[in-house]
């Protein structure tokens, strides 16, 4: 982000008392996680032939990663999306979602960090992060849940669209929040 933000760019975790992360970080990650879950919950399209829903949750995963670094991307994206699974009644998907969306945010955030906002690096970040998500779902459905090739493949196109839309909207949001709400001192 624009402001000097030690927490996300530097390798050190900002700490509060007793070796915990700072209250700022706890609050920020908490609300971003809640928002990721809420957005996933509100924007799902019920007829997509997947585990139940097509949603805008990915844009929050990418937004968190681009605006607040890979840690936020991994934690808020992973936990928030997994929580939405639980709340939507697909709890058995939560562990896979945690890994799928967590790795998406983590990888996208890490790659984007080296790009200094260059557009092609961001596109790579979205593609590689998105590939992690799509692959995690596909492989875990095929080999861990044993749902068969049919159901596992049926999910892939929807997930790819989610990456494309989510990546675009997530990047727009990161730019937007910096302009629209610039006063915030970041954690």
């Amino acid at each position: 982000m624009a402001s000097g933000s030690s927490g996300e760019q530097g390798g050190k975790e900002p700490t509060g008392g007793a070796g915990f992360v700072s209250p700022k970080t706890v609050a920020l990650y908490g609300v971003l996680t809640a928002l990721t879950a809420a957005i996933t919950f509100v924007t799902f399209v019920p007829f997509a032939p997947t585990k139940g829903y097509f949603n805008m949750g990915d844009s929050m995963v990418f937004f968190s990663a681009f605006a607040f670094g890979w840690r936020a991307g991994a934690i808020c994206g992973g936990v928030g999306s997994a929580a939405a699974d639980v709340l939507l009644g697909s709890g058995y998907f939560a562990p896979y979602t945690l890994v799928a969306k967590g790795s998406e945010g983590l990888v996208a955030g890490l790659i984007d960090r080296s790009g200094n906002g260059k557009r092609w690096i961001r596109i790579i970040a979205i593609s590689v992060g998105g590939a992690c998500m799509v692959a995690t779902y596909f492989l875990s459905e095929l080999y861990l849940l044993d749902v068969g090739w049919g159901a596992a493949i049926a999910e892939v196109p929807g997930n790819i669209i989610q990456v494309i839309v989510g990546g675009t909207v997530g990047s727009l949001l990161a730019w937007y929040v910096r302009k629209a709400y610039p006063t915030r001192s970041r954690a």
Binding site: A180, Y181, P182
Partner: protein
């Protein structure tokens, strides 16, 4: 129906409407009311009485479970919200749910763009709306960095810019200081004089008493009374039932009723006038 048609004809008709939210909570029960062109009315009631729910029926954000709503000659369940948005300007209770552009000016022009206005048309309309609520100086600021009062003014300007026939405002004075809220009320009064129909949602009874012609009192999803403010405020029992309190001046007037003061007295000047008349009569 031609825009700016006959004054007095009905522009909003709510007919036997009941509404339940997902989950089964019945927020409106058999509500009927109408708003005539050029009227200035208030919907008042305690928290959770169904004011916002009723208002959202006017522009089709909610459709009745039972009954029907007609706005500017259109059945709301047969028209899109976007279509109704050209007729009904709706200012939301919380300005932060409405604002999203990166400058105030863009924000004010956003609705116009949705309605396919050309740049050459939208610029002067936006300018006029910003002048009306006195935010021209803020035009290049990001809306989210403004004070709550100013953010509220931006949402009002963004709705006024499209020059809607009907203006619905959900608690627009919350968070405004006395000066700003008086300024807003006089702006609304002027808009009403120039022919605009206004529906004001409020539980500030002083504002309602001083500025509005007719009040609809709600409690538990029902309409308790729908009458001229004079009639509404002469019945303290009814107000209590709606979990509202009369403005202090009216309460004083009720106490002074045995001396001959009219119980439908809302403003200090009215009270003073009455007392002077009484004193003049007595001495």
């Amino acid at each position: 129906m031609t825009p700016g048609g006959e004054p007095g004809e009905s522009v909003v008709t709510v007919d036997g409407v009941s509404f339940s939210y997902e989950g089964g909570f019945e927020a409106l029960v058999g509500v009927s009311m109408r708003v005539r062109r050029g009227e200035y009315i208030a919907i008042a009631g305690g928290n959770g009485s169904g004011k916002t729910t009723l208002a959202k029926h006017i522009n089709g954000l909610l459709h009745p479970s039972v009954g029907r709503v007609t706005t500017c000659g259109m059945r709301t369940d047969e028209t899109s919200v976007a279509n109704l948005a050209r007729k009904v300007g709706y200012v939301f209770q919380n300005p932060d749910h409405q604002l999203f552009c990166t400058t105030v000016e863009e924000e004010v022009r956003f609705g116009l763009e949705n309605m396919d206005f050309e740049e050459s048309e939208s610029a002067p309309k936006a300018q006029a709306a910003m002048e009306l609520v006195d935010i021209v100086a803020l035009r290049d600021r990001p809306p989210f960095t403004l004070s709550l009062g100013d953010r509220r003014k931006v949402t009002i300007a963004s709705v006024l810019a499209a020059e809607p026939e009907i203006l619905v405002l959900d608690e627009p004075t919350t968070g405004l200081d006395h000066h700003d809220s008086e300024h807003l009320m006089s702006t609304l009064r002027a808009l009403n004089r120039s022919g605009r129909t206004i529906v004001l949602i409020s539980h500030d009874m002083r504002l309602v008493a001083e500025h509005v012609d007719r009040a609809v009192l709600m409690a538990a999803g029902r309409i308790l009374v729908d009458a001229d403010v004079g009639a509404v405020f002469s019945d303290l029992e009814l107000l209590r039932e709606a979990k509202l309190v009369a403005p202090p001046i009216t309460q004083v007037a009720h106490r002074l009723a045995p001396l001959g003061v009219s119980p439908s007295t809302f403003t200090p000047s009215q009270l003073v006038q009455q007392i002077e008349v009484l004193r003049g009569g007595g001495g």
